[in-house]
Amino acid sequence: MKKTLLVSAAVMAFASVASAQVKVGNPMAVTGPIPDLVAPMVDAVNLAVAHVNEQGGVLGQEYVMVAADSGCDPAAAVDAVTKLVNVDQVSALIGPVCSGATIAQATSVAIPAGVVTLSVSASSPAISTLEEGTDLVFRTAASDAYQGVALAELAMASGISDIAVSYAQDDYNAALAAVFAEAFAAMGGNVTANEAHEPDKASYRSEVATMGSTSDNLALFAYYGSGGITLMRNALETGAFSTFIGADGMLSQETIDQIGGENMGAATFTTSASDPSRDAFQAWAALAEAAGVPASDPFVANSYDAAFMMALAIEAAGSADRDGIAAGLRAISGPDGETILPGEFAKAKEILAAGGSINYDGGSGPQDFDGNGDVAGFFSANVVVPKGSETKLTIGSKSYDPEYVWSSTLLN
């Protein structure tokens, strides 16, 4: 108890020194299962903060991101956000990374306290229907509900009429597989089998043998590092399947290197992508490159957009009070108003000061929130091609020179 009081006293002492600040909490999954994915996302958030402060700050005050660790774990997220909301008195929250942590912190802490959560990468469809009578949970990443449908459309368009579905038993892949199977069946396709597999097994021969008798096509939802590659290799070795489709969990140079590009058959995996022809993406890519942030890595653009939009929302609301932020987010994201590209904070401030309305157009997409606080996203289809013949590289070049690479084509 003594320790707690000391800590509280210390925090209070600090809070009183730095009063001219607009504080936003940033509980990213710094530790936990995906720290390597999160590191560039944190950099992108800090880049947005730097841009806002270079251009005068929010409401003329310093824009401060209070970093915390949600560890991709519901219990850690609840604890971290309790501290951000109560001790640090943040105006809003940007992003727990994982869906489970986002749901737990929102229902346990943020929603009861009336604090807005703007997630940067939580993609679970369950988040759309999380709230009852409040408007406090938003996200800059598209729901899996969209990607599953995009994938079903892609399968239909490439002439697949029957397909077996195999998904890793984790929250991301299970949710995506459920959306895909439902959409594919609704479009008139035939789902011949729909089975979960346990990640990280040494062999999936029995799984692929059972499912292989029902169809030649496999919809595979797995992480390449947790059994996905093994399952695909077993399926190819036994000849159980010849055509594969799936989502971003399998997209890695590692997949090609371990299976061999010439062996991979007809494999197409989708991922959320940015449309490189859009002005907003080019503006973002230029800013990111100048700062050494990987612009096209997963959810990095979404992270920048979230931090930047939160600053715009507070500026538009005219105060850092928790109550006005949800309305602010809707005001600056809507399809109407003058377009603001990544980095254009001073311009946005000027328009808002003159009583105009703005529409932020982000590097990751137009970022127009629907009624549930969700955004639509762009997706790309990715196939394996010999290096040199790709339309656009999916994954940035590495130090060595691979024979085969992923080539990306934008869907929708």
Partner: protein
């Protein structure tokens, strides 16, 4: 004059202290449960996360509204859910105990690790019942749920007024009420276990722990007594699991019941506080949770100070790097405590065999 007491910052700080007592209390309950098994009887239970998960899921499924994602929609009252959590956890412990309680210390540990994994895999794969890895959301929390009009409609005190009259009260005051409830249960379990410890039952448990052959030779039914201890501990851990589910309001099998954060942390808490001493179990649970949670604030404060002195270093980068130090810190604290207090901060005090209640001797 006392306006500063009601400033947002002060209210926030008090709410944080409240949450520390709350989570610390939940961990203290788990420590008390483990103390019955390990501290009293010497049963090495390495499956705490599994029993907590059983309690949490039983509670969640019985009390949530229908979601269409998992079986449920029973909307049972919270106390029924908590009672069922304790009973289910106890029944599972009974079944496991009947099979493997005769295993000696380290073999029992391996068996319980395996059982916790089996429980986790069942929760993960029986998607029709538990919604699998996608988890159970919107779990009702004690007192807060009374602010939900759907719940309030059904309550007997509806006779005294419309739900709108008291919804607001519960929505505002549930953190304090919930914390007091958890702390009340910690106190209740503590008192019950103190009675158990000083009773003949508690002394037989110590006898089994210290010299099982002698206890058997004295005519005690050792197997039965070991099962009793295992079940009592599991019931308490199941209750803690139900509170854990209430506080998180969302549970899923993988991350929320990660053995490093439940099994390992609870063991460290008990060893640190004093295995065999109920007060030590409560102290260990509360203290380690305060350290675990509070270090983030200390680190953040330190990073800001360093950032003020050296403008080249970004505080947020420092915080990111320091997050990895927290697990290391727990290990360091454990080392320190084991060096300075080999029997825990509050070592076990054994009731004298013949001297009566007042004449306790230190081991």
């Amino acid at each position: 004059m006392f306006e500063w007491l009601l400033s947002d910052q002060m209210v926030g700080n008090m709410l944080y202290v409240n949450s520390l007592l709350l989570m610390g209390g939940i961990y203290a309950l788990m420590c008390l449960g483990l103390n019955v098994q390990w501290g009293f009887t010497g049963l090495f239970n390495a499956g705490i996360a599994g029993f907590a998960a059983v309690g949490a899921y039983t509670y969640a499924i019985l009390t949530t509204f229908a979601s269409g994602m998992h079986i449920g929609g029973y909307e049972l009252p919270i106390w029924v859910g908590m009672l069922a959590a304790m009973i289910t956890s106890g029944i599972i412990a009974l079944a496991i105990g009947a099979i493997c309680i005769r295993l000696r210390a380290d073999y029992l540990a391996i068996a319980t690790i395996g059982i916790a994994e089996i429980i986790k895999l069942i929760l993960k794969n029986e998607t029709a019942i538990t919604n699998g890895p996608r988890g159970v959301a919107k779990i009702p929390r004690s007192w807060e749920h009374l602010g939900d009009a759907r719940v309030a409609e059904k309550l007997p005190w509806r006779l005294f007024g419309e739900p709108s009259a008291y919804e607001g009260f519960f929505r505002e005051w549930y953190p304090l009420l919930f914390m007091l409830t958890v702390v009340g249960f910690v106190l209740l379990v503590y008192l019950a276990l103190e009675i158990a410890r000083t009773s003949p039952w508690g002394r037989v448990m110590t006898a089994i722990r210290e010299n099982e052959a002698a206890a058997r030779a004295a005519g005690k039914n050792v197997t039965r007594l070991r099962i009793e201890s295992f079940v009592v501990g599991a019931v308490i851990i199941g209750l803690a699991g139900a509170f854990y589910a209430q506080q998180l309001r969302f549970i899923e099998p993988t991350n929320a019941f990660d053995p490093t954060k439940l099994t390992f942390l609870v063991w460290v808490m008990l060893i640190m506080g004093g295995s065999g001493n109920n007060r030590g179990a409560v102290l260990g649970g509360l203290m380690l949770w305060v350290i675990w949670s509070g270090t983030e604030l200390v680190i953040r404060f330190g990073a800001n100070v360093v950032g003020d002195i050296f403008p080249d270093l970004s505080p947020s980068v420092l915080v990111t790097k320091a997050s990895f130090l927290r697990l290391f810190l727990i290990g360091l604290i454990l080392q320190f405590v084991l060096q300075r207090f080999p029997k825990g901060i509050l070592p076990e005090v054994r009731p004298a065999a013949l001297g009566g209640k007042t004449n306790e001797v230190r081991d």
